[in-house]
């Protein structure tokens, strides 16, 4: 399935936003995926990462997953990375499948982060290579293969010798936002990082993979985060239903003191209470919101509608 990303110029800066970002925010999110098939599907197996994982800055109140037609089997468990994952299988012949995730979470602001106070990147890389918590996020993964020369050189530009890991990572985040165009027509789910780097365009998923690849090229641990981003309507307009989208960003490990810091290269900034986390892993493949294998079906079309609504929690 394709992952539409939010448009990066949707983010509106302002005093009100800044104040809001310092308070916890409760969200109701709805994520509807509809598949239409050209031919009857006899059976379908699904794996969904569509429930928000709990972590220190995020509380999951109540989240549900509804699948129509009704699946014969639904099981839930925690995956290797600690994300909730749901398996569902259905054997009712169908031409249309609708998966609705309803999510109710509260997101707290991140603790203060001073990039210039983080350790030098070489020390972080050396430490990360042997720590169980970080080493698997340094190694190549299915969607982020070993960096080629172009990517390594690109990455090295942000991390001169002795550079603070946080500073380099923030520079990288901003530069991807500034120099790359958000263009949903430029890439597909299988566009390799090298092409994103050459063409300088893509969507949030591409930018996240690019940034992860660049960090790993230097031995720095980076995780792929799947989730949602709250958007504001253009000034004076009503917010459109279903206009939000799945989003993806990056966590970079900045040493034991700071731990994992969420950075959003699509929007060129550190993540805050605008970001709702679903799951994290090595790359998109580990946390794909909805993966399925079907029998039959012929051609198919997908429609995705996402709503991210802050609710008054006071």
């Amino acid at each position: 399935m394709s992952l539409p990303a939010r448009r990066k110029d949707d983010a509106v800066d302002g005093e009100a936003m800044a104040a809001a970002a310092r308070r916890p925010v409760r969200y109701k999110c709805t994520h509807v995926t509809r598949y239409h098939y050209g031919d009857t599907v006899i059976s379908a197996h699904m794996l969904a990462h569509l429930a928000p994982r709990a972590h220190p800055r995020q509380t999951n109140h109540n989240s549900t997953l509804t699948i129509i037609p009704w699946p014969g089997v639904v099981t839930g468990r925690s995956d290797w990375f600690g994300n909730p994952v749901t398996y569902a299988a259905l054997h009712t012949p169908h031409r249309e499948l609708k998966v609705t995730a309803e999510i109710d979470v509260t997101v707290s602001p991140p603790p203060p982060f001073t990039p210039d106070a983080t350790p030098g990147w070489e020390d972080v890389a050396a430490q990360a290579a042997s720590l169980a918590e970080t080493l698997e996020f340094v190694r190549p993964s299915a969607r982020v293969p070993l960096a080629d020369t172009a990517l390594t050189l690109f990455a090295a530009g942000f991390f001169p010798p002795g550079q603070r890991v946080g500073t380099g990572a923030m520079d990288l985040t901003r530069r991807i936002h500034d120099d790359f165009s958000f263009d949903p027509t430029a890439t597909t789910v299988s566009t390799p990082i090298s092409e994103v780097l050459t063409r300088r365009r893509g969507v949030c998923q591409d930018f996240a993979h690019l940034m992860i690849g660049a960090l790993r090229a230097l031995g720095l641990p980076a995780r792929y985060v799947s989730g949602y981003l709250r958007t504001l309507p253009p000034p004076g307009k009503e917010k459109l239903k279903g206009a939000d989208a799945s989003h993806a960003w990056v966590q970079v490990w900045c040493g034991e003191a700071d731990g994992w810091i969420d950075l959003d290269p699509t929007n060129g900034r550190q993540c805050d209470t605008d970001h709702v986390t679903l799951a994290w892993g090595r790359d998109y493949d580990d946390v794909c919101p909805l993966r399925g294998v079907i029998m039959g079906g012929g051609g198919h079309g997908v429609l995705v509608a996402v709503d991210v609504e802050p609710v008054d929690d006071r």
Binding site: M1, Y35, I42, T75, A89, P93, L135, V293, I294, M295
Partner: protein
């Protein structure tokens, strides 16, 4: 500390630099355990050539092959068995076996820990990077709750014997180890070609090991879903294109497992089912030969078409047992070898009994230093099996290559291991008519037993390096193999018989074709085996008829009959139309040219191409056909692959041979197979193809165009239908249109008439399980029966025998109706709706 697993060394100190000779001591004496073999005369040069030949013939006929992926044609290569076995004394083997048992216990517990609690990582026994950095560690398999001791059912261990006589472990294969089937086939051949020596040496039998494997699989079943209260077991193969497909089919048949491919299985309600003709049958145990990450496209590699979506979920639910457990490729990692000693002490509290080839992993600073220091000496390999198996010999690298290797180790040290270069022991090998010493690697097999213990196959697979130098020994690089004989201490002692040995004799692995659940895919293949066999037969008949008419002793009128034959050959796509339409004056020249074209192996309509299709269809159902069937096919393939000469007399001789072989396939169909669904699909394919061929011959000979047809074309039709004699008996007056057509269309006593084919198809079709309409307007089986009824009525009608227009109408309608029946069968029984990832 490590115990030496060797007989006390009898070598004198000054020969230490030489490799260990398996047969002869350093001072030139034949080792004690070889003496029985030598005195039997089995190793004499004179008889060796003869036996080598006999052995090769047996292997060839048994169809023992492996594929080479590198070969663009995907050709099967004959299995390169050496005529001299490797002998090892029982006393030495017992020590090796003890070591292997300990190693199996250890690996099983290590896997259980790494896919569970991971105390080994937490306690610092293993560096986390060794496991979490291994692409073979499948995160989706973490937390699979499996009964203790059930992670590994079958293990292969590769060992080499060092100059000091000690066997050292080179690598373990814990994922889906290959070789047990080839080992058994080696034994079948050796026990026949060296029958006397085999008896005289008191060789340990292999069959109890396989019986044990079967028992273990049965005991692992979480429930018994079979018809008679037994668990239903399958062997999951990647399919006929896999390099070891022969072994999969052989082993499935020997162990009594149903051979299945991923598409034959489906997961419902967290349980695995086999799609058979009769519906879904629940599966309890899967012995898999598909690699870990290909087993489930939902949770593992999404691009895999070899697996079963939802399999992991079925395993998680405890509804099926997959052997070896999913994720077990992790312990294949060579990078684990340096930790074997400490793991053994930590996990088992025992010193390791087996020695390992000294190995260094680049992820560890101290070992990396050893590695870098040994750049000019060590053997370098990728650390994790998923990174490939490319081996570099430090001693053979030039300066540039060594610098490159050093840089690549510096860049990604954790992806490299280095092993000390062991000079492996040598054994005599039969090469180009003489005995030469060649290095060897021994593959031993370990099988879990139901009581949580392990048993070692008394024997194994010795693989021979292709040259004197010790290269990496793989099947892909074209090395040879030896049977391994564990010989008793006392020569001539009577056979030790075990309870089950009689059930599965070493020498008679062929337990007959499988008759159980027939997967839909197998039915499909069988149907096409029938069709291609018949198509080949029809082509050979046509060519023989043509070649005969070009020879010197051709009968009068032969030239005239070349015209319909040429047309028929054009019609069936053997030759281009411009040749097939030649008038009688040019017919001889045209036919000579036609034979040239048919003989061309590159011609897609030629005999060779049809034979290839037949072989491919049959290779997918080896386990369903009588062993003799495969042997005939092997010989057929061999005959068909030799260059065909267009010279008529020579060609005729070759065609006679092919024809005899094809006829023996028909004989086996009639007399060598029980009348189950497998047989039915074979017959349906053959009869439908023959019916389609008869209608084609009518059209090809010009009878489908509304003309009366010449005497020449009628007599050709009679000849192709093998009906000449029958016709002359009934109608001595000569060739007349009406009785000829009546015989070919409606005579249901004649096995090559249309009526006969249609009746046979009708008779077999009703015995197949009916298929529900399920979303279709009419059930496909019902529709096929209706069409057959119509066809039967049409051929029984005498009008077309008299009226050329009615005949043209008949051939036209049958020409469309018969292929439609074939399509309906496909739709009803074979249609695979393949799984797709979204």
């Amino acid at each position: 500390m490590t115990y030496a697993l060797a007989e006390p060394s009898r070598d004198s100190a000054d020969t230490r630099d030489e490799p260990w000779d398996e047969m002869v001591t350093g001072d030139g004496h034949v080792r004690a355990h070889w003496q029985g073999f030598i005195s039997s005369g089995a190793a004499d040069g004179a008889s060796m050539a003869e036996r080598w030949d006999a052995g090769r013939r047996l292997l060839f006929q048994n169809g023992v092959t492996y594929h080479a992926y590198a070969d663009p044609q995907g050709v099967e290569r004959p299995w390169p068995l050496d005529p001299i076995p490797l002998l090892l004394p029982q006393s030495e083997w017992h020590m090796i076996a003890e070591g292997l048992r300990q190693r199996a216990r250890l690996l099983d517990r290590v896997l259980a820990d790494l896919y569970g609690e991971q105390t080994l990582l937490r306690d610092g026994v293993l560096p986390p990077a060794l496991v979490l950095g291994d692409p073979g560690f499948l995160r989706a398999c973490h937390g699979l709750n499996l009964p203790a001791g059930s992670r590994l059912t079958l293990i292969a261990t590769d060992m080499v014997r060092d100059r000091d006589g000690i066997w050292r472990v080179l690598a373990s294969r814990t994922q889906a180890p290959t070789g047990t089937g080839y080992t058994l086939e080696n034994r079948v051949v050796m026990s026949q070609t060296l029958a006397e020596a085999f008896r005289g040496c008191n060789v340990e039998r292999l069959s109890p090991f396989f019986e044990q494997l079967r028992q273990t699989l049965i005991n692992l079943a979480p429930r018994c879903s079979g018809p008679d209260g037994c668990p239903r077991l399958v062997l999951l193969t990647p399919g006929p294109l896999n390099e070891a497909y022969f072994e999969h089919a052989f082993l499935a048949r020997h162990l009594g497992l149903t051979l299945v491919e991923g598409a034959d299985l489906t997961v419902r309600d967290q349980a695995v089912y086999l799609k058979t003709l009769g519906g879904l049958e629940r599966i309890d145990v899967i012995l898999r030969r598909v690699d870990d990450d290909f087993c489930d496209p939902l949770e593992l590699r999404p691009d895999s078409i070899l697996g079963v979506p939802g399999l992991l979920e079925a395993v998680r639910a405890g509804n099926v047992m997959v052997c070896n457990s999913l994720g077990s490729g992790l312990t294949d990692s060579v990078a684990l070898i340096p930790w074997m000693g400490s793991l053994s002490r930590h996990v088992l509290g025992e010193a390791p009994l087996l020695a390992d080839v000294p190995t260094y992993w680049g992820g560890d600073a101290r070992q990396r230093a050893e590695m870098v220091a040994g750049l000019d000496r060590l053997v370098f390999r990728p650390a994790f099996s998923s990174l490939g198996h490319r081996t570099s010999f430090g001693a053979e690298l030039d300066h540039a290559a060594r610098t490159e290797l050093a840089a690549s180790i510096r860049r990604r040290p954790q992806d490299w291991v280095a092993q000390e270069p062991i000079v492996p022991s040598t054994a005599p090998v039969w090469r180009d008519g003489r005995k030469v010493a060649r290095p060897l690697v021994l593959r031993a097999f370990t099988c879990a037993t139901p009581d949580g213990d392990w048993t070692i196959m008394p024997g194994g697979l010795a693989r021979i390096s292709a040259d004197e130098r010790f290269a990496s020994v793989t099947l892909q690089t074209g090395a040879g193999a030896k049977d391994v004989w564990i010989v008793g201490a006392t020569i001539g002692q009577p056979q030790r018989r075990r309870g089950s040995a009689a059930m599965m004799p070493d020498g008679g692995g062929d337990t007959g074709p499988r008759t159980g659940d027939l997967p839909s895919r197998a039915a499909d293949h069988l149907f096409w085996v029938g069709r291609y066999a018949e198509r080949a037969d029809a082509a050979v008949r046509t060519l023989r008829a043509a070649a005969r008419r070009l020879t010197d002793d051709a009968h009068p009128g032969a030239e005239e009959e070349l015209v319909p034959l040429l047309r028929l050959m054009g019609f069936t796509g053997m030759i281009p139309m411009e040749i097939s339409g030649l008038p009688q004056a040019d017919a001889v020249r045209g036919m000579r040219q036609a034979l040239e074209i048919v003989a061309d192996p590159a011609n897609p309509g030629g005999l060779r191409a049809t034979m290839d299709r037949l072989r491919r269809a049959a290779s997918g159902v080896r386990d369903r056909l009588p062993g003799e069937f495969s042997r005939v096919l092997t010989v057929l393939g061999d005959v068909a692959s030799q260059p065909l000469k267009a010279e008529p007399a020579t060609m005729q001789l070759r065609l006679d041979e092919v024809s005899r072989l094809l006829a023996s396939l028909i004989g086996l169909e009639l007399d060598g197979m029980s009348r189950g669904p497998a047989w039915r699909f074979l017959v349906l394919g053959r009869r439908l193809e023959r019916a389609i061929g008869i209608v084609g011959a009518f059209n090809g000979c010009g009878l489908g165009s509304g003309t009366a047809g010449t005497v020449a074309s009628l007599s050709v039709l009679l000849e192709l239908a093998a009906a000449g004699a029958a016709y002359r008996d009934q109608h001595p007056v000569g060739i007349r249109r009406e009785p000829v057509l009546s015989l070919l269309l409606a005579d249901d006593d004649h096995p090559r008439s249309l009526a006969f084919q249609i009746k046979t198809v009708q008779r077999q079709l009703v015995k197949l399980p009916p298929i529900d309409a399920e979303g279709l307007a009419v059930s496909p089986t019902k529709l096929a029966n209706d069409l057959l009824e119509t066809a039967a009525g049409m051929v029984a009608d005498p009008q077309p025998t008299r009226d050329p227009t009615a005949l043209a109408d008949l051939t036209d309608r049958l020409g469309r109706l018969l292929p439609e029946i074939s399509n309906l069968l496909s739709q009803a029984y074979f249609s695979h709706v393949f799984a797709r990832t979204t």
